[in-house]
């Protein structure tokens, strides 16, 4: 594999394109720049084993396509794509950049395959997405492995354990970057730079600035390396920001997950079949509002607003086999009282909540595969679908906490992926791709596999434009 020691990479050389970051967007930028003829240096902060940023935890990519292929079951066209995006963001998006992303994603799977990506045939279990999203065989880490192998073959210089500390920007142009690798400081020069170093979600201090005390109880689902250093550097040097620092992709995950890097296995899919209560044993939101894949991205924020940022999803034995098993075994109790004791909730309060809920359920034809309309009557908040009484022991309970995938605060870019400064002018040789600029397009909400779309499309744009600037 790629030789990775600093000795193998010449830091004294002036590169055409410097890529900061080592995830999907960074690799797409690096490969594209290299294929355009540029010399490329890629600096990844993580050691080789943890390379790839959040991309190593991803699984699929949503892209526009006019017809079905080996791994997608049907067409997905611009208008439908745009409507889906508009709905999840509630209009908080830049239509020009969003439509650019969608159009440029057209058949991007072909390009990805050429760069080594392997897609898996559409399979059971992923029905909701098999038309719109291409699934990487083996997931994001396999994709990243393939991209690194291709990058190495293309002659891209790659340095792991390389943390960029600062950028030297003169007269609005990037001149050099200072970095530390293996306890030594270096300054590396390049004709243009692509910053694809992710959001700041692993920077607990920064999260706390935006969220206050509750941030202490957040779990970071992905890489611990996305501390937002380069985002801060760009903002300090006058880049125009985009997005709300409080906005992030936050889902409700098992509270027992590790603080960082727990990835997919900490997710819980039981919510629509359960009642969710806070630490006061009170329900606070409609658990059956919509299909879980369409709703799970709002539950992180819902839990974050509850006292101590904790909630408990409780089901009975009727529902235990209806969702994907999770890595942590549920707490189990033969009565609601026992369940309450196990979850450290007040038994009287929990019994009251469950009784009220059970009384509000109505007979109906329960069907987990459709929005079955089994709803509560006269209950606040209601449960609109899949509402069945909790009456068949044993009962199972899962603790929930907000799990942050990535933050939306970023730098503004134009359609060439150039970073826009506060005066509204784009920096000619500073480009951004991936999570650091995803907030331009995703101002709110999320849809599966779209972060990878933005990273891939803007990575390619940034790589091409950075090479064009450097070589011209």
């Amino acid at each position: 594999m790629a030789s990775t020691g600093p000795s193998a990479v010449d830091l004294a050389q002036i590169y055409d394109v410097l890529v900061i970051g080592g995830g999907n967007a960074a690799l797409c930028a690096a490969m594209t720049a290299r294929e355009s003829g540029a010399t490329v240096l890629l600096l990844e902060i993580a050691p080789k084993e943890f390379r790839g940023g959040n991309s190593r935890h991803t699984r699929n990519l949503r892209y526009m396509h006019e017809s079905a292929n080996e791994h997608l079951t049907g067409p997905y066209l611009e208008d439908e794509f745009w409507e889906d995006l508009y709905r999840v963001t509630e209009g908080q998006t830049n239509e020009k950049l969003a439509r650019l992303t969608i159009r440029k994603s057209n058949n991007v799977g072909v390009w990805m395959s050429k760069q080594g990506c392997m897609f898996q045939p559409a399979m059971r279990g992923t029905l909701h997405l098999s038309r719109t999203n291409g699934f990487f065989l083996g997931g994001g880490k396999a994709l990243i492995n393939a991209y690194y192998a291709t990058a190495f073959k293309l002659g891209i210089k790659i340095l792991y354990d390389a943390e960029v500390l600062d950028l030297k920007i003169q007269d609005g142009r990037f001149a050099s970057a200072s970095l530390v690798t293996g306890h030594t400081f270096h300054r590396v020069q390049a004709r243009s730079v692509v910053v694809a170093s992710g959001g700041f979600q692993a920077n607990l201090k920064w999260l706390k600035e935006s969220w206050g005390e509750p941030a202490d109880n957040f779990i970071i689902r992905g890489t611990p390396y996305n501390k937002g250093r380069l985002l801060r550097v760009l903002i300090d040097q006058g880049a125009k920001t985009v997005g709300d620092p409080r906005q992030c992709h936050a889902v409700a995950i098992d509270a027992r997950a590790p603080k960082f890097d727990g990835g997919i296995v900490t997710r819980l899919d039981c919510v629509p079949f359960s009642i969710v209560v806070n630490k006061l044993a009170r329900r606070f939101y409609d658990e059956g509002e919509d299909f879980w894949p369409k709703r799970y991205a709002i539950w992180g924020r819902l839990v974050a607003r509850q006292p101590d940022q904790i909630a408990y999803s409780i089901i009975d034995s009727k529902s235990i086999d209806l969702f994907m098993p999770s890595v942590f075994p549920p707490f189990q109790g033969d009565s609601i009282t026992e369940m309450a004791t196990k979850l450290a909730l007040d038994p009287t309060d929990l019994n009251q909540t469950v009784d009220l809920f059970n009384q509000a359920t109505r007979p109906g034809k329960f069907n987990p595969a459709v929005m079955d309309g089994c709803m509560t009557a006269g209950l606040e908040p209601p449960k609109s679908n899949w509402a069945r009484p909790l009456d068949t022991p044993p009962f199972y309970g899962y603790p929930l906490r907000p799990g942050i995938t990535f933050t939306y605060l970023g730098v503004t870019v134009n359609e060439k992926a150039q970073v826009v400064m506060q005066d509204g002018q784009p920096a000619p040789n500073i480009f951004a791709a991936g999570e650091i600029m995803a907030g331009n397009i995703l101002g709110k909400g999320y849809m599966a596999g779209f972060g990878m779309t933005i990273g891939t499309v803007f990575g390619r744009i940034a790589g091409k434009e950075a090479a064009r600037y450097a070589i011209a």
Partner: protein, 354 residues
């Protein structure tokens, strides 16, 4: 397994993950089955976001290899020969050397050095060095022992995975399993190959295994045809170059030498982290034994008209005896167990379709 079942990113690679998804909890019998369904392609290891140094330290191929070894050891019959598998590398080496020396000494003692060390031509040349009875009877007895032991061990494994004897006879399931086995479907991972020797995808391991597998079958065919020629048709060896036994034996022998040599080389170069260190001796021992038995067989063919024939014949037979003795206590048992796991997998897949 619980981590895998909550993640499922690897479901496209092989049969293990879909089989896992059919279960919510994992009993001993499930694990034994899954371990033998695993073809050790390592695709899941390099794709795993939880592989070491991640704090979950998930190493599926290694864990399954360790488990697989346990299923082999559990099945050893007779039980007191377990030591042969536990220190298989050593056992294979010692038994083979001993059996070569024994066959060689017996040959020299009974046939006399002048017979052994001179050239023999024409009909019955081999039997001049080692008389018919001495060659055929011990080998036949050993072969019978080998087959019976392997069947008993396979039966034990099938029961351990909760299989009913009747299920093993399922016609359609066997058809699917034979297809999977003959094509080594799961040594192709998700279709792109194995991660050997490193994290890049390659079909080299599958091809080398094909060489070994079909080479072995050809050698088996060669021996069988030769036995029919000899005992039924009364044409005795050595046979001409363009005869069926010699041709299939030669092609098979070359394939075996290439396959086992290649696999040994791959083992030498491979990343050792996803491998079970405990099964290395067994793997290498079996490959080396196959390598040397085919190499000695080929040498015997090339030099069969020279005075070296007698010695080579004794050595070749010695190695084959060593192979037969150690086969039920080493890597060879994987053939039956993996086939059984494929049958079980086919039964489950068919059930699911219905």
């Amino acid at each position: 397994m619980v981590i895998c079942n909550a993640c499922r990113y690897c479901e496209g690679f092989c049969a293990v993950f879909p089989a896992m998804e059919r279960r919510r909890t994992f009993e001993d019998r499930d694990l034994k089955y899954l371990a033998n369904l695993c073809h050790n392609c390592r695709d899941c290891y390099y794709a795993c976001q939880y592989a070491p140094p991640h704090e979950y330290q998930l190493n599926v191929p290694r864990a399954l290899a360790e488990l697989r070894l346990e299923t082999y050891r559990d099945a050893i019959r007779p039980g007191f020969l377990l030591g042969l598998m536990k220190r298989n590398g050593l056992a294979v080496a010692l038994i083979t050397v001993l059996s070569i020396i024994t066959v060689l000494l017996l040959t020299i003692v009974f046939s006399g050095p002048p017979t052994v060390f001179s050239a023999h031509l024409g009909e019955n040349a081999f039997y001049k060095v080692i008389p018919y009875g001495f060659m055929v009877i011990p080998i036949s007895v050993l072969a019978l022992y080998l087959i019976i032991t392997l069947l008993i061990e396979l039966n034990h494994f099938w029961r351990e995975t909760d299989g009913k004897p009747a299920d093993f006879a399922d016609f359609r399931a066997n058809g699917l399993a034979i297809r999977d086995a003959l094509g080594l479907k799961y040594l192709a991972g998700g279709g792109h190959g194995c991660n050997y020797p490193d994290d890049r995808f390659s079909h080299i391991r599958r091809w080398l295994h094909h060489f070994v597998f079909y080479g072995f079958l050809l050698c088996l065919a060669s021996t069988t045809i030769a036995a029919i020629y000899d005992h039924v048709l009364h044409w005795s060896a050595p046979y001409p170059i363009w005869s069926w036994p010699v041709m299939s034996g030669t092609v098979g022998g070359v394939a075996l030498v290439v396959g086992t040599g290649g696999l040994l080389n791959l083992k030498r170069k491979m990343d050792s982290l996803p491998a079970s260190p405990r099964s290395l001796g067994m793997d290498v021992g079996f490959l080396a034994l196959l390598f040397f038995s085919s190499l000695s067989g080929l040498l015997l063919l090339i030099l069969r008209e020279t005075p070296a024939m007698g010695t080579l014949l004794a050595i070749h037979l010695g190695i084959v005896v060593g192979l037969f003795v150690t086969m039920p206590y080493g890597k060879f048992v994987h053939a039956g167990f993996r086939y059984a796991a494929l049958v079980k997998n086919a039964i489950e897949s068919l059930d699911e379709e219905n």
